[in-house]
Amino acid sequence: MTIEKKSRRKFLKDGLWGTCLTCLAVVAGAFAFKKRDDEKVWQLDPNKCVACGNCATYCVLEESAVKCVHAYAMCGYCDLCTGFFEPEPRELDTGAENQLCPTGAIKRSFIEDPYYEYTIDEPLCIGCGKCVEGCVAFGNGSLFLQVRHDRCLNCNECSIAAACPSQAFKRVSADEPYLIKKAGHT
């Protein structure tokens, strides 16, 4: 009696074991063949970005993986750059009290009258988006934020994405990991 009982239990157990293994194999196989996809990475859509400043504070890294990029082809090279200067600057010079950037990461250099070029000193940029906000509001919107993939840890759930008010963060293919602003598009 006991032997029979034991063997029945063993039979059921083995059956269940086989079923589980087959299920796992089928799931793995189905995914490997049908829904195979590239690795995904996080990126923010600059056209949806509202420059709220969450990128600087919500990233799990102490210094955010998001930094500013300048699309020079879109830039108006203004003397009064609203991405560089405080709303009402006392003077149009590189004095710290006139600058919008809290870390002074934007370099202003004279090109020709009346044009100035603005370049970003990336190690200083913290991704706060203050310059982006100014540039989008009153300028051409040539300054925008992007996730730097040498810094990004590619968390399973991006902390900035969870905090992004305009749902600008999305998973993009690792083969094309940047969403660069181009002239002629907003």
Partner: protein, 442 residues
């Protein structure tokens, strides 16, 4: 005059807005005829590439190697020291080096999202990270927990003076892990949030930065973990509950003794996780009818619990659906439009700036809420089922004659091995053989 001022402001604003909408550049880029200045390129950024895919496959290879080694150390070599070294390696590699991402626990969510969201396809690495430990568990038991999981490893290091948790308390607390698993699947499937990642207790240690609240909670768990060994693994880990059930079926199991159990009771208190089961005593004849009645009652209670759980889960859909950004936004916009809230948030003003119709947003939100209503039924009834089974299972008695490692709860850490006198004999005979071999060499 005032009216003219208003009109001119309106015209100015509409010009600016048109500029924004049609993407016209307010200040046309100069062509620099005079100085011949060349525009710097923005393409440099595209050369900053993400981690190459090949490294993700390297992670998978390390996972397979670690799982194999862990299984070998526990089942064949029976060496706690080797498991410990492997565990520290895994903590360093998967924890501190890979910063805790990707991990099989979190991969549950990627899997559920990819089933329900057609736009999201799972990467090969994620599916392998999810499946491989499950397959290993089907063969060798929870060797993943023993030597591979970085979350387990960090807790295992702080086990100082473990106290015994009564089995009823252990079983009840474990219900939380089932709730966590169900909630994680629900939130991931609806695309709301990855709560396992968001509320990961130990990832702030791995990254050496993180939210203060999670850091404090993680510290609390490590302090608790000195006395209640591996609290996250036992009571919270959602992947652990899957591994539990699979390891019941595993082909090869961890045995305390390498030989026959001599019931010396030496191993009885050696397990910090309370996973060693004692031999059963004789069936109590007194109260037999009473316990049969109780069992019948509990079995009848099971459908009631399932229904109540489902009903409760579903009726909470409003609060649960707030985990989804769209629902939150829709509720906010609704309240603002009703005049109940005067201030706008970043999210609501960003939505208004897009100019999308509010009705669409409301529709999306109500669809998501319906998903939560249905998902709430499933989640609640699952929890009801688990709770009901937890009530029933103590009534089922099984005959055991030996001291055994309970295959579901055993984390395969190998602490109990050295307590077994038979194991000491085995080690001695091994070393004697070694000595003989050494003598032969000489």
């Amino acid at each position: 005059m005032l009216r003219f001022g208003h009109i001119s402001i309106c015209i100015f604003i509409s010009i600016v807005l048109c500029g924004v909408v049609f993407g016209a550049e307010r200040f046309p880029p100069p062509d620099f005829d005079e100085s011949g200045h060349e525009l710097p390129s923005t393409d440099y950024i595209t050369n900053i590439t993400p981690r190459h895919t090949i490294y993700n496959y390297l992670d998978v290879a390390v996972l397979v190697a670690a799982l194999s080694l862990s299984s070998w150390f526990v089942l064949k070599k029976r060496s706690r020291r080797s498991v410990f070294i492997l565990m520290v390696f895994s903590l360093v590699y998967f924890g501190f080096w890979r910063k805790g991402c990707i991990c099989p626990i979190g991969a549950i969510q990627n899997f559920s999202l990819s089933i329900f969201d057609h736009n999201y396809a799972l990467s090969v690495t994620a599916i392998l990270f999810l499946i491989l430990p499950l397959i290993f568990t089907l063969f060798f038991g929870r060797t993943f927990c023993a030597g591979v999981c970085p979350l387990g490893a960090i807790q295992d290091l702080v086990v100082l003076r473990p106290i015994k948790v009564p089995s009823w308390l252990e079983s009840s607390l474990r219900l939380f892990a089932y709730i966590y698993l169900a909630a994680a699947i629900l939130f991931a499937a609806t695309g709301s949030a990855f709560i396992i990642c968001r509320y990961d207790l130990f990832i702030s240690f791995f990254r050496l930065s993180g939210h203060l609240n999670m850091l404090i909670l993680g510290c609390c768990f490590l302090v608790i973990g000195m006395f209640v060994a591996r609290p996250y693994c036992r009571f919270i880990c959602p992947y652990g509950v899957i591994l539990r059930q699979l390891s019941r079926l595993s082909k090869w199991k961890v045995t305390i003794t390498p030989d026959d159990c001599i019931k010396c009771k030496l191993c009885e208190d050696s397990c910090p996780f309370g996973a060693i089961t004692k031999p059963t005593v004789e069936w109590p004849q007194i109260g037999y009818t009473k316990s049969r009645k109780l069992l019948a009652l509990l079995i009848l209670l099971l459908p009631v619990l399932i229904f109540l759980g489902g009903f409760g889960g579903s009726s909470l859909n409003r609060s649960w659906s707030r985990m989804h950004a769209t629902v939150r936004l829709a509720e906010r916009i609704y309240l603002e439009n009703q005049g109940l809230l005067s201030e706008t948030t970043d999210a609501s003003s960003a939505f208004r700036a897009t100019g999308e119709p509010i009705e669409d947003l409301y529709d999306q939100a109500s669809v998501i809420r319906k998903q939560f209503k249905f998902g709430g039924w499933l989640l609640g009834s699952f929890i009801g089922l688990v709770a009901g089974l937890k009530l029933i299972i103590p009534s089922i008695r099984r005959q055991r004659t030996d001291f055994q490692a309970d295959s579901a709860s055993c984390l395969a850490c190998g602490r109990c091995f050295k307590y077994c006198p038979k194991e000491q004999v085995r080690l001695k005979s091994l070393s004697e053989k070694q000595e003989i071999a050494d003598d032969d060499k000489i």
